[in-house]
Symmetry: C2
Subunit: 147 residues, 2 copies
């Protein structure tokens, strides 16, 4: 009986660790499908890293509804819409991004993403950027988790 239990303990798989570990390739030298990667994420506003270029990361997310107002003091941030339509509000206007379009938010500029329905996005920004900037909220997501 004890022996059976010992063997059983060997097949416990730490899936969270597998999901969050950085691949040795850093997502380089291989074709990566960001839409497919985004589709695998459970839940909205959870960004997942898919590749790195120098000290920048490519991240995907599924988003729906209202995000929060925030800004990034030290960096611009790029959004590429993979599927759906994303609106990014500024204090003095808005940017409407359809699938395939790119929008760059300048550093220090307050913005609030909004998606009427589900939208899949690709984000590009330096490693270590927090999704809600200096504004801590329930929307603040864990960083540097790969998918």
């Amino acid at each position: 009986m004890m022996r059976t239990l010992r063997w059983a303990s060997f097949i416990v798989i730490d899936t969270e660790h597998i999901m969050s570990s950085i691949p040795s390739s850093r997502g380089q030298r291989i074709a990566i499908d960001p839409l497919d990667k985004a589709s695998r994420i459970e839940g909205f506003w959870q960004q997942r890293v898919i590749a790195e270029m120098n000290d920048y990361q490519f991240k995907v997310a599924r988003v729906e509804g209202d995000f929060i107002w925030h800004s990034h003091a030290d960096t611009d941030e790029t959004f590429i819409v993979l599927e759906g339509e994303l609106r990014i509000d500024f204090r003095d206007g808005a940017m409407h991004l359809r699938a395939g379009e790119i929008g760059v938010v300048p550093k220090g500029v307050e913005h609030k993403p909004y998606a009427a329905g589900e939208v899949k996005i690709l984000l590009i920004e330096p490693r270590g950027v927090v999704n809600t900037g200096a504004t801590h909220s329930e929307r603040t997501a864990p960083n540097d988790i790969w998918i």
Copy 2:
């Protein structure tokens, strides 16, 4: 007669200058359609800048046929295929990118893009990177021209 000529001289438009000047927005805070931008380029392997994020540039190009072997000593380089199918050869293999897919070439790694038919691509790399790396060739394209 002289008067007519003088007036005429005012309507000469320097289209090359207009095309190559950097917009005050640097392509930020506006929706940009990279596929549409790429479609407007005449000729292959001519990269055109469409937006900037910090000191990185988003560039589009129409490519067909064989490029040359080259590498970039100081930076990774990202390819996103907008339309068509791109193969990037390495000395020890290849990466096949279909529309919507991302491929990052690590810095210092020799590579040669190849497109059997026309392919439209989005490139992401630091401002100032020469398309043929340290290898000067007839494929070496002018840099920092916006569209």
